[in-house]
Symmetry: D2
Subunit: 242 residues, 4 copies
């Protein structure tokens, strides 16, 4: 029997402390909400970490024991130390899965792994988002129909400045007419990175069953399947022939 997938749910955890509206939706923080959901799934063991913990809760030991890291952040991206970003990047390249949520598009780990600005257009009008599946049969859409509807949410619009995704899994339309590549996957080293747009601190998006279904599917799909060694070795002629 395989052991449980070890997930670390990372959250900036500032809005929930400072804003009543957010705290009303996520009294223990977005991370607690996501971790609780994941822990109710078979074969997943989720823990949490937040910005204000020592080393942002992401010690080398913690990351080494993490199969999949999820990342939510919004207003304090700059407070994340570059040393921890180095550590997260290295672990992804070695195979750790990374799931970046919503405003995490501007987080340091995501920008580091993408190499682009990750910029986009945005609007907070609480409009409807429809996420359309563009890869039927993909493990990340398991259990969904042809689309997922989020009644009220923030808008993100193209152009989203990312490298062309290795797999484009969802495209969203918004009531206002914009579109967005809202579910994108990239391979980086031995690791998989999945960006998933839904989620805003002032809407209960992480209580939406289909959104949580996607996050759960993504946890399983980004679980490491092997590793990449770090190093640039000098190799003598004939080394591989023994």
């Amino acid at each position: 029997m395989a052991r449980d997938i070890r997930v670390t749910v990372w959250n900036e955890f500032r809005h929930e402390k400072e804003d009543d509206a957010v705290r009303n939706i996520y009294p223990d923080g977005i991370h607690a909400c996501i971790a609780e959901h994941l822990n109710a799934q078979k074969g997943i063991a989720a823990d949490t970490a937040t910005l204000d913990e020592p080393e942002h809760g992401l010690t080398a030991e913690k990351l080494d024991a993490t199969d999949v890291l999820t990342w939510w952040a919004h207003k304090a991206h700059k407070e994340v130390s570059d040393e921890i970003v180095d550590r997260v990047q290295k672990r992804v390249l070695q195979g750790m899965g990374l799931i970046v949520l919503h405003s995490g598009h501007f987080s340091k780990p995501f920008k580091r792994l993408m190499g682009t600005t990750c910029q986009l257009k945005w609007r907070e009008e609480g409009e409807r988002e429809v996420l359309w599946v563009t890869r039927p049969g993909h493990p990340i859409v398991e259990g969904l129909g042809e689309c997922v509807i989020i009644p009220h949410t923030e808008m993100y619009g193209e152009h989203f400045d990312i490298p062309e995704p290795d797999e484009l899994i969802f495209i969203s339309s918004f009531a206002g007419g914009e579109v967005f590549r809202s579910g994108c996957a990239w391979n980086r080293g031995a690791g998989k990175v999945f960006y998933f747009r839904p989620g805003h601190e002032t809407y209960p998006v992480y209580r939406h069953p289909e959104v949580m279904r996607v996050i759960t599917n993504a946890v399983r799909w980004t679980t490491p399947t092997g590793t990449m060694e770090i190093g640039a070795p000098n190799k003598p002629m004939g080394w591989f022939e023994k």
Copy 2:
């Protein structure tokens, strides 16, 4: 001085003969409208060909003298002979550009080059389409702003069953809430294939300045830059060292 780009604008040319509403928009056929526009551009020389001509107007001589082929068809895909499809495919692999328009998604040449069903959802309600640019700076979007608006048109919705595009250049939203990858490019052999969604026989889409701008840009961008030899040669040890 480089010679003109030689474009062959291919059209099924049936709706225009059989349906007054279509003929009113395109009295000489969609092909004539597109070719006229292209011929007004510097450095482009466009000719036309249609289904009911001998060899559908696509003799070996004609295709050999074509740099870029554009393809519009809708109701008579099955009447295109497989021999001509073979010929078009071979020329694309050798470097000829191919621009597939609107309902051409179900044409034999496109399905041949994609290897998939190319299926999609559709609706004829004359709703608004907004094409969003997802690759700013790409030659195909030269001269455009951030989006192109088509006030009334047929809807195409995901899932569009195509191989993941090598370059995704436009994504459309429709008033009804659907999305569609409406500008997609693939390399096949030495040739470039560009699928561009806009265009329906009952709306004057091929008189829309920005739509025609994209088609003109795409003609320039899919113009051959080299060739691929056809053949699977046996090569003796050391052949390349002379």
Copy 3:
């Protein structure tokens, strides 16, 4: 407990009947050798089918009960009926895995799904091939080191006329100096296609432990994870909102 992965190992099965040298290596055919190996793996149940059986052994019932199809062929590609090719293509798009081996690069199902000539250079000198892993951590390379060495085999050289792979997993070098993209994966519809170069009828390549390890890994990796419906439905405004 999940049921076994149902594999159908398809073989042209002509060389083995007509050529003593081939029969000496594969007395019951290449298909029997591959199927025997797969049946020794946990969770895999392999059956076989060959060209000269009715419907090439690929009845609709058989394909409907196949999760992964492997394809070996060389000299009789043209004898495969287009109806069966249609059937294989459709099943792949619906989610069935397809593993194309060696000279199967010129098979009708592979060329149908690629849309290109799939041509390459070749030489039969029994030279050494080294397959280098270009995607460490990928499920297909599980259990391998940095390369796989095949002491004596046919050479295949670039340019290999295929669409840019969605995932490039192995690149080979040959003693004569050529290179080849020898492990390539594409998504088509809901299905995964994996091309794997090793294998020639006059060398015991399908008894090489690491080659068989890759084929086994590929069976697991191309197993369907969902399905794509075939159809291009007309959808009324508002259909998805209930």
Copy 4:
């Protein structure tokens, strides 16, 4: 008449000052050799910049007036200031072409734009490299045959830790049996990045006619075709409809 393409040839310029063997090959530096070649081409105007100049020779004014930047470096990657790396990255995303040569794979601008370690295997035995064309017809291979032979050079071997290239244009084999993706292109923002492996300071690789042909072709191909605005604007409902 279009103006000349403005190229800035950047070089670390340390080996040439410190090592007689290198100075004998490139008495005025690798940059001077490359710039001289480019300046002899029609429509190209090349200038140079080096590490030890103020701001590494890459002031904002200089970069703003650069269409294509080429980058050679080896032993002093760490001395490149992060501020200049930010500036180069931003200009690439805005559309500037970037051509990274040989040991530039470990340069800060390349690693920044890739998001990976860019690690590889290596060996200095002066062995033969053959670069095979995997994209016939691509503008970058214009004027070449099926391969380019470099008689004596350093070896680079897979695994090369890069994101899957958007276009894989050359694969090398080495006499020792290794392979390497030696010509790779990526889109980042509105810019094109081309990595080209050939070139070592102790071999006269930048005097090889076909290597210089590729660099010249790459200059033309990575020349900007448009731009991307930097910014993440808030957009009111209906902004694009005027």
